[in-house]
Subunit: 649 residues, 2 copies
Amino acid sequence: MIQITLPDNSIKEFAEAVTGYEIAKSISNSLAKVVLSISVNGEVWDLSRKIESDASIKLYTWDNREGQETFWHSSAHILAEAIEFYYPGTQFGIGPTIDNGFYYDVDLPDGKVLSEKDLQKLEQKMLELARQKNEIVRYEVSKADALNLFKEKNDDLKEELIGELEDGTITLYKQGSFTDLCRGPHLPNTSYIKAIKLTSIAGAYWRGDEKNKMLTRVYGITFPKQKMLQEYLVLVEEAKKRDHRKIGKEMELFMFSEAVGQGLPMWLPKGAQLREQLENFLKKVQKKYGYDQVITPHIGDVNLYKTSGHYEKYGKDSFQPILTPSEGEEYLLKPMNCPHHCEIYKWKPKSYKDLPVRMAEFGTVYRYEQSGELHGLTRVRSFTQDDAHIFCRPDQLKDEFKKVIDIIFIIFKALSFENYTAQISLRDPNKPEKYIGSSENWDKAEQAIVEACEEKGLETTTEVGEAAFYGPKLDFMIKDALGRSWQLGTIQVDYNLPERFNLEYIGADDNRHRPIMIHRAPFGSMERFVAVLIEHTAGKFPLWLTPEQAVILPISEKYNDYAKKVSDFLNISDIRTVVDNRNEKIGRKIRDNELKRIPYLLIVGEKEAESETVSVRRQGVGDKGTMTNNEFVDFITKEVREQLSGLYN
Amino acid sequence: MIQITLPDNSIKEFAEAVTGYEIAKSISNSLAKVVLSISVNGEVWDLSRKIESDASIKLYTWDNREGQETFWHSSAHILAEAIEFYYPGTQFGIGPTIDNGFYYDVDLPDGKVLSEKDLQKLEQKMLELARQKNEIVRYEVSKADALNLFKEKNDDLKEELIGELEDGTITLYKQGSFTDLCRGPHLPNTSYIKAIKLTSIAGAYWRGDEKNKMLTRVYGITFPKQKMLQEYLVLVEEAKKRDHRKIGKEMELFMFSEAVGQGLPMWLPKGAQLREQLENFLKKVQKKYGYDQVITPHIGDVNLYKTSGHYEKYGKDSFQPILTPSEGEEYLLKPMNCPHHCEIYKWKPKSYKDLPVRMAEFGTVYRYEQSGELHGLTRVRSFTQDDAHIFCRPDQLKDEFKKVIDIIFIIFKALSFENYTAQISLRDPNKPEKYIGSSENWDKAEQAIVEACEEKGLETTTEVGEAAFYGPKLDFMIKDALGRSWQLGTIQVDYNLPERFNLEYIGADDNRHRPIMIHRAPFGSMERFVAVLIEHTAGKFPLWLTPEQAVILPISEKYNDYAKKVSDFLNISDIRTVVDNRNEKIGRKIRDNELKRIPYLLIVGEKEAESETVSVRRQGVGDKGTMTNNEFVDFITKEVREQLSGLYN
C-alpha cells in the first residue's frame, strides 16, 4: 500500500507503485490530459516514473513554471533528434530551458552553417517527430556505459560532461532514435508538443569560455496549442515595437556612449524632464507622508562598507576601491545609500518622540556588471534609487508598513499599473540560526507585515523561508500591458544595519533602544522603472508625466511667429510645449509628431492667428475643436488634475 | 636726468636718483603721508630705495594689496624684534604676510610656550618699537657675510634658508637692533604702524614638513590707524558669528561624517530643501533662457579624460582610477561635467539651425584636496556645479554672453547681492603661441565679450594676459554684507574641447564647422554658494528661499491639534511650515524659533482656534496682527511673488 499526500494534505492510497500520470487520472481524466510533470517530495519527476513508496506530491501543468520547463526540456531533445536526422555526426553540448523556450548548443559537422530555410526544415521534422507520439524513456546507467555510448557516437562534448558526473547519478533519456544524457524530467511522450517555432541562431562558446570552440546555438519555443504560439509571436512582435531601447532612441530620452563607458546611461533633455517629473511626483507624495529629503555623496570610506557589511558582499566583484594620491585613504563608489543614511541618523541623539525618521534620497549608486549582462536601462552599472529609510520603534512598524503600501498604491494608480500581486517573505521558523534579531522581534515584524497587508486589502502570497537573514519583506510584482511580469517595489525590514551602526534612541523609559530600519524603493530605480514604463505604455506616457505635452504646428512658415507666441504662453502656464517650425507640409508635421507620442497637436494658421486660438488634436484620438489659448490651458490643466486627483495634497 | 613715468603716462623729471617717497612728495604732501611702497618697472620696492635710472612707477597706499603687504611685512619684523627682546636666543623661520595680516614661525629657547599674557606683552613692546620711528634699512650682502651673521646668532633656520639662495641676490633689512634676511620691500620706518593685534598662536612644522621640528607660529595684524583695528576686530567677531559652519549646524543644514569621509558634505533635510529651492529657481530661469537639463553619471572612462586633457591636469593629484574586477576597464570620478556633455552633443548630427545648444546639469564632481585644505562647504572634495555648456556659432557668441550675464543679474537680484564687480580676462597679444584657436576667432570672442558687457551696462576691469590658453573669460566678484569679496560666476569661452572632441555642425554653406563652447556656472558650486549665502545673510535667507517659512507656536498643548491643522493647510498651499508643539512656555518658543531664523512665527491659542486665525509675528520685526489662515497665505505668497517678480516668467 502506497500513501500519496496531495497539496491540500488529503491522502490517496494505491495498492502498488504508481506514476504521476496515474495519480492525475485517478483524480480526473481532464487533469490527466493537461498535467506535464510531478513534484515528488520536492523533486520534479517524469509523469511516467514509478513512485515506489509513500510521498507528498504536486502535479504541474502549463500554468506552472515547472510544467513549462518539463515541456521545453523535452522539446530541446526533439530539436536535437531533428538535427541529428539531417546532420548526422553533430556533437551535442547542452540544451537547457530559458525564460521563453529553450536552446541547444551543437557542433555541426563539416562547418555547416544553419540558414533560415534549415530552421524551417528542422521545425517540420520536429513536428513530424512530435506527432509520432514517441515515448520518452528514462534509463539509469553506469558512468562507464554512458561514456561508451557517446564515445561510439564520437560526441566529445557529452563525453566531457559525463566525465565530470559521479557514477550512480547518471540518467539517459531516449525518444525515437535519439538518446541524450539528461537529468530530466520529461513529458511521457512527444505528442504533447503541438506548436513549434525555432526563433533564432547565435554563436556560443562551449561552456561560455572564449578559449573554447564556437558552437551553434539554436533557440526555439514550443506550446501545447497552436493558438498559444500565435499569441506568443504577436506578443514578441509587440514587445519588439515597445523595446525601451528603441523607443528611448526615437523619443530621445536617453543614450549611451562608449567613450563614457558601458552601462552608464546619460539622460537626454526629454528623458531628464521625464525623470524629474517622476521624482517631483514622488517627492510630493513622500512629503505628504512625512519624508525628509537628504543628499549624500557618491563615495564613502571603505571602512563604512566594512561596518555595513556591503564590502564583504560587493567589494570583490564590484568597482574597485578609489585610492587618494596621498594620506592613504580608500573610498568605494557607493553600492547602496543606507550606510550614509545611518550616519545622518547618528548625527543627533534621538528620543522616542523623534521617531519615525523617514529619510529619502534619489541616490545614484554604482555596481559593476559584466558587459555581456548589460541591457538598456534594465541592467546598468549606475542607477538612481528612489531610496528611503524609515527608522522607527517596534510599535510603529505596522503603521509605517501601511503608509509605504499607500505610497505604492498611489504610484501604481498614477501610472496605470492596474495588475499587480504582492508576496510576503517570512523566515523559516525551523532554522532560527539563519536569522539575526530576536525571535520575538521577528514574530512582531512578520505579524505587522501580514496585518498591514490585510488591513490595506492587499492580496498576497506568502513564502516561508524567503526572508533575508536580516528581516522579512514584502515584494510587489506588476503585470505590464503585454502581460509580462516585473518586480517593482520592495519593502524590507532590517534588524542588521541598526545593529552594525549601533543606532539608538532613548525610550520613554529613559533607556537606550535599537530602532528598526525599513528599506523601501517603490520605483526600484529610475532607470529600470522608466524602462518598464516605456514598455508598458509604448512611450505614450500619461499626460501629467510626458516630457512634451503639446506641440504647435504652424501650417506654414508665415505662422511661426504666432506659434512661438502661443508656445511661450503655454510654457509660462506650465504646459510643456514645443513648436515644429520646420518648412514641411502640415500633413507631414502631424504624422511626424504623432510618432513622437506628443499628446496634443495644436495646429495654427490664419484663422487661429487672427482669433488667438488653436485647433486641438489629441494623439491617437483626433480633432477636439478650436479653443482660445486660455481655454486650452484650462482644458489640459483639468485633464492633468483629474489624472492626479486625490493622489497627493 | 631721470625720467619717471607715472601710471597715467605723464612723465616727471628728476635731476638725480630719487626715492619713491620723494616722488610722492613731489606730487603732494598728503600723498607722501599715505604712500607705503612703490612699483618700479613692475617690481615692488621700498619707498626709501633710490631709483637710479629712468623707470615706470606706481605708488601703493593702504588701498592697494601691495601697500598692505609692505605694511604687514615690516610688522612681522617688528614682531620678531619684540620676540628677540624678550626671548633672546630665539631662532627665526619665515614671517610672511597672509590675507589678513602676517605671522612669524619661531623656535623659542628652552621650550618656551607663549601665553595670552605673553602676546599682550609682545604687542606693547611692538607698539613701543613702532613709536621709536626706527628707520628700516636695506643692505645687499654676500652669501658668506649673511651666513656668518646668522651663524653668530646660532640661527640654524636662517642659515638653512640662506644656504639655498644664490650669491648676489641676498638682502638684509635692519630696524632698531634687529636684522632679518628678507627680500623686502619695507616701510621707510616703523612709525607708520599705529595699531597692533597679535591674534593667535599655533604650532607649525618647519617648512611644512611633519618630519621637521615643530615651531611656534604667532599670527598678528596691524593698521595705520587705531580705528581701523577696532573696525577689523568687530568684523572678525561678526564673521565668526556668521561662519557658515556654525550656522549650518545651528540651522541643521549640512553635516560631515568621519566614517563617510572628510570633505564629503551631506545635506540634512533643511539643507537639501534649501538647495532644491536654489536649483529649482535656477532651472526656471534657465528654462526661460532655452536651456535643456541633462543627467550624466559620476564616472567616466579614463580615456574620456585623456581626450579632454583633464587626466593630464587632475589625473595624478586627484582621486585615483577605479578598476573593474574583470574586463580591465579604468574609470575616473568625474572632475568636470564637460566631457560627458560633449559626448551628448555628438549623439546626433547638428546643423547650424540646431545651435545654440544649451546643456545644463547640476553635476556632482569629485576632486581630491589635502585634508588640511578642507574647510566647511567652501573647500570640499565633492561639490555640485550648476553647470551648463553652450555650443554656439561664432556669430551667436555675443548674444549668448549677454544672456548669461542676464541670468547672473537675476541671481544677484534674487539673493540681494547688490555689490559686485566683473573682470574681463583677455589674451596677451604679444604671446600668440600661448593660445589655441585662430587669432581671428580670439579677436571676435574678445570683442563679443567687451561689447556684451558694454551693452549690458556692466562695469568691468580688463586684465590682459589673464585669459586661459583655450579662451577669454568674464569673472564676477561679489562683496558680501561684511565687505568681503567672493569670486562667483565665471563665463569661459573654450576653443579647446570642441577641437579635442571633434565637435561639428553643418553650416548654411553645407560645410562642417566647429562650434564654440561656453562654460558657465553662476553659483559656481551649490556648496560654496550656500556657504557664501549663509555668511552674507547670517542665515536669514530671503523668504522665497528659506527652508522653513513659518513656524506655528501653540500657546499650550491644548492647541496642538489646531496648530497641526493650520500647518497642513499651509503646507498644501505651498508654504513650508512646521509646528513647535513642545511643552514649553510661549516666550521660550518665540525665543528659540527666532534663533532658528524662521521668518514667520504664527502664535495660536483659544482666540485663534475659535476664529480660524493666526497671530503673525515677523522675525526681527515684530507683530503683524491677526489674520485668517487664507489671509496669511495671500500675505506670504504676495511677499514671495514680489521678491521674485520679473525674475522669471
